[in-house]
């Protein structure tokens, strides 16, 4: 494993980040703006432009891999779709999307076929948005039942019809967001055959009913994983429509809870969160387990450089000035690369259905690219 690529962009939390398909542009949320950073060299990003329009904290950003359109959502209850303007480079044309929600929007993701996007919100609503040609605007359709609390996360099934949502009522749910005229009829899957809008294909509670922080479909779409505030990972293998699932596997860990997770292959999940590190899980329908941390011990170079010049002088100086007897080793740094909670884990590079690199962003203002 090569060393992770660390980009310390600024000293502010990053709620969400997204790379463009060619990985030359990085979009990060920073307070009420989205900053676009362009890759200047293999190791450095430089700030290139800023998307202004929201007037409250931005909670989600997603770049569509093929069309290059950017969608953002914010606590001001709005979403914008930003399109690159063909005439001037680095300028973006925003289109306001009326979500018709009365609480903050919490997360946003494009569907894999990029014709729709979904926004989770604190209004116990999952807004599915699609473009209506005849009126030339984005229309929002609400998924309401049976959500009973804030939607914290959402994930699209590869068929662009099924949508998973994690909520603070402790449930992870799978819905159909089939829109007539936009979507083609999806093939029958383990989640169901006939899927009109707002069909609830699955509803899963974790054992402690803790908040669900993130949900994700496996690459094939036949399994669902979610992580909750009880520091556990739950993987669900459905058996078929209207049947109890084939297997629900819950792994409780000794770590702090995970904020975000990602399938890297059909049998592997990578998760990161309040423990500031990235962890790997492996398993299948028989059972799952925590394999270990992706980064090696001391990946954050804690005191590695400073520790060398250890001497009696340094020791007494540090006892005198800082009141510690540990010598010159700096113990104010965490041993992980991220120095605070990791908010988002995203796919950075994948080939042949296997993810080889992932990117993470956190409260410490860092974006890190990991080689798995």
């Amino acid at each position: 494993m090569s060393a992770p690529e660390v980009h310390h962009l600024f000293h502010a939390p990053i709620p969400d980040h997204s790379f463009s398909a060619d990985r030359s542009t990085l979009a990060v949320c920073r307070d009420t703006e989205v900053e676009l950073h362009a890759r200047r060299s293999p190791t450095a990003f430089a700030h290139s432009s800023t998307l202004r329009g929201h007037d409250k904290t931005i909670t989600g950003v997603d770049i569509a891999p093929h069309s290059g359109r950017i969608v953002t959502c914010s606590q001001d209850r709005n979403a914008y779709v930003w399109e690159p303007s063909p005439s001037a480079p680095d300028t973006w044309k925003p289109t306001l999307v009326l979500l018709r929600i009365n609480r903050a929007a919490t997360c946003v993701r494009w569907s894999p076929n990029e014709t729709k996007f979904a926004v989770g919100s604190g209004a116990r609503i999952l807004a599915t948005c699609y473009f209506e040609e005849e009126n030339d605007w984005w229309v929002s359709k609400h998924l309401k039942k049976p959500l009973r609390s804030t939607v914290t996360s959402l994930a699209w099934h590869p068929n662009s019809v099924l949508l998973a949502a994690g909520s603070t009522d402790g449930h992870a749910r799978v819905f159909s967001s089939f829109v007539k005229g936009i979507d083609e009829r999806p093939e029958a899957s383990v989640w169901g055959e006939r899927l009109p809008f707002n069909t609830v294909c699955g509803e899963y509670l974790n054992p402690t009913a803790g908040w669900v922080h993130d949900v994700a479909f496996s690459p094939s779409g036949d399994a669902l994983a979610f992580c909750a505030h009880d520091a556990s990972l739950t993987v669900v293998y459905p058996a078929g429509p209207e049947q109890p699932p084939r297997a629900v596997i819950n792994v409780s860990t000794q770590l702090l809870p995970f904020r975000s997770l990602l399938w890297t292959a059909e049998t592997e999940v990578v998760a990161a969160g309040y423990d500031c590190g990235v962890y790997r899980f492996q398993g299948d329908g028989e059972g799952w387990g925590l394999v270990g941390a992706v980064e090696k011990e001391g990946g954050g170079k804690a005191g590695a450089a400073e520790g060398e010049g250890q001497s009696a002088l340094n020791m007494f100086r540090s006892m005198d000035l800082k009141g510690r007897s540990g010598g010159s080793v700096d113990d104010t740094r965490l041993k992980t690369v991220h120095q605070n909670t990791v908010n988002t884990v995203r796919v950075y590079e994948e080939s042949g259905g296997k993810v080889s690199k992932v990117s993470t962003s956190g409260v410490d203002g860092r974006v890190v690219v990991w080689t798995l």
């Binding site: 449930h171 409780s252 000794q254």
Partner: protein, 189 residues
């Protein structure tokens, strides 16, 4: 009109979609209701195990049968039994017992339950003080007797030190994950 305090009106009650008009217990894990007399029978059996010298079996039994569905009285009876059992186990035996407990099938769950009782016990405060006096039960005397064997009246401090040393040993084993689970779990003890 003037004497209505608009600020105290619960507007959620008028919103049919509001969580206020919704039974939230349907969202939590289903728990079996347990009657107080059942809890009492169970605690008698556990005490018998302790008297027989099988404190480890007693602890395991008490944690496996945690009465999530009992009312406040039943829960406090069970807490005092668990506290008694914990107080009976010597410091040197704690780690080996926890190791065996953790490695057994479903051990992680049992350790989480133990963590719940440790926190609940710490939250109870000293027996006889204002905080605890409101839920005095016949078993509460057993609680203070078990804790106060050495220091007479200062039983609270004694049981607190028992909780603290159990907590230290338990966190070594199960990490902060268990603490977070105790806080997020809706099945309270």
């Amino acid at each position: 009109m003037a004497n209505i305090n608009w600020r105290t009106i619960n507007i959620d009650a008028y919103d049919p979609d509001s969580a206020f008009n919704f039974d939230l217990t349907t969202l939590t894990p289903a728990v079996q209701p347990v009657s107080t007399s059942d809890v009492q029978t169970l605690s008698g059996q556990i005490r018998q195990l302790v008297r027989g010298g099988n404190a480890e079996g007693a602890l395991q039994g008490a944690l496996e049968n945690a009465p999530y569905g009992a009312d406040e009285q039943g829960k406090s009876i069970h807490l005092s039994v668990v506290t008694e059992v914990l107080g009976q186990i010597r410091q040197a035996e704690m780690t080996p017992i926890l190791q065996r407990l953790y490695q057994a099938d479903g051990g992680s769950e049992l350790c989480d339950t133990l963590m719940k009782y440790i926190y609940k016990g710490m939250g109870q405060g000293a027996p006889g003080s204002g905080a605890a006096s409101k839920n005095i039960t016949p078993q509460a005397t057993g609680f203070s007797q078990a804790g106060g064997r050495n220091f007479g009246g200062e039983g609270g401090g004694q049981s607190m030190s028992v909780f603290l040393s159990w907590h230290e040993k338990l966190v070594e084993m199960v990490g902060p994950g268990s603490i977070v689970r105790v806080m997020s779990d809706r099945r309270t003890v």
